[in-house]
Symmetry: C2
Subunit: 463 residues, 2 copies
């Protein structure tokens, strides 16, 4: 954990921003895997971890905004449990460690809530995403469980987003540790991908093992596929074959819970062919341009548009597009090749704070999400600020179902050379992703550089 | 998946055994990790997988027992989804693959259930263990979600236990594949444990990576600890030090969902000292005796007692116990050293069918669970039958809190040499586990033999 002061200051700031009422922060519990006693590896709620530090099941934090009183609730360990668990600190010892004065069990929590609500005070909570926590809040606040999402606190969401969006130096240190592990994951992938015939799951499993051996879980289910054009896919069942690109999108959480999120795309066998190299370098030029443009007070939606325009220019040179590329981008042509956004915030969550609602994190009153196919998928559109950590991850995909659909609809015939695009239907996809820290005057690519140019990738694959 | 016939026969047998009503088999959905779109790796419900085969989210199977009509319910893929997911079979194509005739969406399911319940028919379901499925059943059957567990079908549980307890040859093949992976996991652990200073999580993470690279998840969160005496612990935070034993209890699921569950205990550094060797060989002799005694029509509770008596005899030779060991076992003395049971059923779940309720699986009317400390923790007490797969996993632990408690209570002073036992308070624990198939006249240890004798373990660790 960080020092006691870190958590105290974070909670004090929260009190200032929320102004009144009670703040309820429900930590996570275990989730059953295939029966009650066999559980998925525990994953703490990020809001709880940010303000109350502990990576432990069954804790609830409460802050009384007006009085400043803070509480840590949970069940004390029974002396008989110690036979099975070994020595365990008491709840009040735990509370002291994070600068919280008051402790109690769940019954005490109920009493505090009842007393406060009967006195007409509001209880603030952020949107729960686990059914167990929905039921817990429903029960505690006397809400039908189907209505718990309806009563979340937008004040609390805004206050959490405000703090968590700006990463401190100590948070950056942790993110870079997670990137050290990601370095090993992806360079291992590259060496394994050199050998045709390996199964995707062998590579993905080995990468996940590296994450776990580094002390944390993967930050999201690994995408490792020779069908990079399938964007919503976690299948790892195929044998890798020469002629296909592998898209490897994977990161980890470190022991402090901070994430990394890296994508590399590499040719099975270790050598890019001419077509792969051309598309790869197109994506890479868009990715480098986005990093070059990332600095405070620039809207990330504009950087997204600049990156896809860069990609579009390259595709025009390859004969896939025609006409005025700037105009093509404005009209939404690039959605055919890159239906997703350029990037998203990253921190304790790989899509940081996504449980609060994407638009609370990536947009604001001045910057409203687009509805245009492609740009609509951009999670972060607002102006960047110093201290933001975000991903820069353009891609280029040839999605047969989408090409067929657009061609049948005669979409953008003035911009798209469908006959040329059709030739790439067997190509798959490419994505390249790094994690950026917005600095005072620009940005810094976090972590030790992971092989990225065609030459660097081929060299790593030859090892 | 197995052949269509396998699933058809299993469902037909289920119909015969349940006799009347509707059987509702709810498959699992994704569970949120830290926000709705970031999910734990999917794990199908074992009952669904056994009868309906698919390892896919959001499916529900229904069998009308009287008419024999079978249904597969789920939501059809939207044509627009194919852009993101690639080609996906239709629900009716999936149903055909497993010999099911009827399909429908969730609304159709509601209609079928309403019609049946209004006609006075019972809907059978086994106990759900995920909050999402509890809420789904609550909503479908118009039950308050807090009462869903109260209305589970004991007829359906009994019918499932009857079939799933007896493993077919094709199931044994799958279990042995999971054991091949477990072999690699544990021999890798042995080689890593030879090096003092490694962190437990580095070894555990590498083992989990081997499981994943083999195509399935771990069958339960890996236990890998130099504090084997902490039985309910999944902490992996320590550096391994010479003088400590590592207890490594880990297995995996293979691509078909079948489990392995193996424990090996090895000395950090690679060489057993005299005390470690003495306790290790005591546990091993109990483990070998249990396998020797395992055959049809013998109660596993009796084998448990024989194994702990064997262990007790060894501990007497080491001066830790005194008096009549047979009598000591009957009185419950061995709970001090082995507070857990000798083993449990294994199959699609590592504790097979534990979501139905342990006593439905491991006990019956003739064999009621003991309440004696130690024996009370035995999950499988009833008579063995040909085709059972179960674990044989005795252990010996020196649990400081338990030793202190019993000594303070002056428990079993005639049997326990507390002064001698106290000397082992820094020892930790040892457990040795294999998976057995009950055969016509005895049993077979499944899988390729994993180093187990002192000599074999030391040789592997020296590699």
């Amino acid at each position: 954990m960080f020092s006691k002061d870190t958590y105290i200051k974070r909670r004090q700031q929260l009190c200032k921003d929320v102004e009144k009422g009670l703040i309820l922060v429900v930590g996570n519990s275990d989730v059953a895997f295939n029966y009650q006693a066999n559980q998925y590896t525990f994953r703490q709620d990020s809001t709880f971890r940010y303000f109350f530090g502990y990576d432990i099941q069954g804790l609830i934090g409460v802050i009384d905004v007006e009085s400043g009183e803070e509480y840590l609730f949970g069940e004390e360990v029974d002396m008989n449990d110690i036979i099975w668990t070994g020595p365990i600190p008491s709840l009040s010892e735990r509370a002291t460690e994070i600068g919280v004065k008051n402790t109690g069990n769940i019954k005490d929590l109920r009493n505090l809530i009842d007393k406060s609500v009967f006195a007409g005070r509001k209880v603030h909570y952020v949107p729960p995403y686990r059914a167990e926590n929905v039921e817990f809040i429903a029960d505690l606040l006397h809400i039908d469980y189907r209505f718990v999402q309806a009563y979340v606190s937008t004040e609390l969401i805004a206050a959490c987003v405000k703090q968590r969006s700006i990463k401190s130096e100590e948070e950056i240190v942790e993110i870079e540790k997670a990137l050290d592990t990601a370095y090993t994951m992806h360079t291992t992938m590259m060496r394994m991908a050199a050998k045709e015939g390996t199964y995707e799951y062998e590579i993905a499993g080995t990468m996940e093992g590296i994450a776990l051996a580094g002390g944390g879980p993967v930050s999201f289910p690994i995408i490792l596929t020779t069908h990079g054009e399938i964007l919503h896919g976690h299948d790892h069942s195929l044998q890798i074959k020469k002629g296909r690109m592998i898209v490897s999108d994977a990161g980890c959480e470190n022991v402090m819970g901070y994430c990394s999120d890296i994508t590399r795309s590499v040719p099975v066998g270790g050598k890019f062919d001419a077509r792969q190299k051309a598309i790869y370098e197109s994506v890479l030029s868009a990715q480098l341009l986005a990093a070059k443009l990332s600095r405070p007070n620039v809207k990330y939606s504009e950087i997204h548009l600049a990156a896809v325009e860069q990609l579009g220019g390259c595709l025009k040179e390859l004969g896939l597009l025609k006409g005025d590329i700037h105009q093509a981008v404005l009209e939404g042509v690039m959605g055919l090749f890159m239906p997703h956004g350029l990037g998203h915030m990253m921190g304790l969550d790989v899509h940081d704070m996504e449980n609060y609602g994407e638009n609370y994190v990536g947009y604001d009153k001045k910057n409203v999400r687009s509805t245009q196919f492609g740009l609509a998928s951009l999670r972060l559109g607002k102006e960047l600020q110093e201290g933001f950590v975000l991903t820069d991850e353009p891609g280029c995909y040839f999605i047969p179902a989408l090409i067929d659909k657009w061609r049948a609809e005669k979409k953008f015939m003035d911009f798209i050379n469908y006959d040329e695009v059709e030739k790439f239907k067997d190509f798959g996809g490419i994505r390249i992703e790094d994690d950026l820290l917005i600095t005072k005057n620009g940005c810094r690519i976090l972590g030790k550089p992971i092989p990225k140019t065609v030459e660097e990738v081929e060299n790593e694959m030859a090892k």
